[in-house]
Symmetry: C2
Subunit: 306 residues, 2 copies
């Protein structure tokens, strides 16, 4: 009976310690230092190297260490086992705080005033009129964001793969309704999961369907946006600005044009970070459930990708 | 019976038109084009040139065109008449939105991430812990700000010239309690009126009483802050950052060091602008009151200065 923590490039001592406190009788090891792969029954995974789980013949369950699972499903050798993700109310809270702060940043024109300041240019302007938002992706975070902005008094539209029903929010679904969903929004917020269907979804053609002068916020995954198409949309003025917290490659390589683009506000993937305590509680609970033969909490559909 | 609009350097056609609609029987003139100064009974003033009211012998009331009156009281020849100011709920709303946006800007470290972006530097950090705020000045706007941030979950202290009582807010007053008011605050927000007592109030000595690493936000008047002392406090690291919407001279002269200081976020006096419609309604009402011998709305104590 053991749990393997397969999360490369991260210090895991604290996580191991906290999880040990919750599960005192279970051996918890940090990959690649696994004494006996045959006794590992659960793997906690995040950006695991392809193939590293294949020599654990008695795995019963997989637990993502984050809310997304695209990096886990990218491993073609991933065993076909129940896969759960972390659903963290604190993470949702931190995402909402980020999004509200970003929307207010643009409402107050802090982007324009910062640029003016660097040029020693004094030009008072009234706040940007941001009244209508579109949320792409209506999962946990997308729904929470839609409701949050609705409560703040915004008109909110939502778009997702399959049609959702949310009180007070006009919901759209599928490719044929993309234009209707985004074409009136002052700010479009991307909270989609990364799947083969959403990779490069925001390409030149779809970005051109946004309202002229709209602002794009991507807090989902970098690969959902076609980088070159975004740059072209900003340069042509079709989009007024973009706030990016996620990138195709992270950290973003230093030669990437996003860094120095005047209309891009970059943050280093900080909009929503998994809280260790919440994660530990959910991992421990799912370990107990898997031992008892109960369904895991926050199960992911491997085929659907979220 | 006439009203004189004494507001130099501003286009007043719209204000004149709107006010005329409210008071169809009253002559409304734009200074300096006053046909007969002897029939002017009310002057609407903002940054009026010294002495321009002395040849209006039948003035009964003065009406500031804004919320502050320091620029009006700076005129030593100002007649000793009832002086009212504008109290605008929309102005309060716009001030609260500004302050909340600025606090979120610092919580999300958008200041640090913008600086990192310019250096192509990727360094994730969790949000700044901003939990305790101090509001300097507990007039209309100060009280509204204190209550607003209290509702958002912050611990709020307040400081003013005379002691106030506000539910849920620890209030301090006078010079001897300044240290107690500011010394624990993560962010200090200045909403004081500019008076001879508050000019240069935030000097080297008082800025040094703020918590190390605190952030100063000035949305009141530039002359309340000693510019050089502020620069020294930022350079020494005593203050982490300052957000300034108001300046000793506006527009800020291009040679002023605030423009290029990396720890200063500047906005061009946009945190709260008088809404013309609200102003028109209050000017018209105060004209009627002054004609009827009733006390003006939103009277200012000339001696106290607010």
């Amino acid at each position: 009976m053991s749990i393997a923590l397969v999360i490369p490039d991260r210090k895991l001592d604290q996580l191991q310690q906290k999880l040990q406190q919750q599960l005192p009788d279970v051996l918890i090891e940090i990959w690649p230092d696994i004494a006996d792969p045959a006794v590992v029954e659960m793997a906690v995974v995040w950006r695991q190297p392809a193939g590293c789980l294949v020599n654990m013949p008695n795995l019963k369950a997989l637990q993502s260490f984050g809310a997304g699972v695209d990096n886990i499903l990218a491993d073609a050798t991933l065993p076909d086992l129940p896969l759960a993700r972390i659903v963290d109310p604190m993470l949702t809270q931190s995402m909402l705080q980020y999004l509200q702060g970003v929307v207010q940043h643009y409402q107050l024109r802090l982007d324009e005033f910062s640029a003016q300041q660097r040029k020693q240019h004094w030009k008072p302007r009234s706040p940007r009129k941001i009244q209508r938002l579109c949320i792409l992706g209506l999962g946990e975070l997308g729904q929470a964001a839609a409701c949050h902005f609705l409560q703040l008094g915004f008109v909110v539209d939502g778009w997702s793969a399959s049609l959702k029903t949310l009180p007070g929010i006009q919901c759209f679904a599928g490719d044929e309704q993309f234009f209707a969903a985004v074409s009136q929004a002052d700010v479009v917020i991307c909270l989609l999961p990364l799947t083969p269907q959403t990779e490069n979804l925001l390409n030149q053609q779809r970005l051109s369907q946004l309202k002229s002068g709209a602002i794009l916020v991507n807090v989902a995954r970098g690969a959902i946006v076609d980088d070159l198409a975004l740059l072209q949309s900003l340069d042509s003025g079709q989009l007024a600005a973009a706030c990016l917290d996620v990138f195709r490659v992270e950290p973003l390589p230093s030669e990437h044009p996003f860094w120095q683009h005047p209309a891009i506000l970059m943050t280093p993937h900080i909009s929503a970070v998994t809280n260790a305590d919440t994660a530990v509680a959910q991992i421990a609970e799912n370990y107990r459930r898997s031992q008892a033969g109960l369904p895991l909490l926050n199960l992911v559909c491997q085929q659907r990708g979220y």
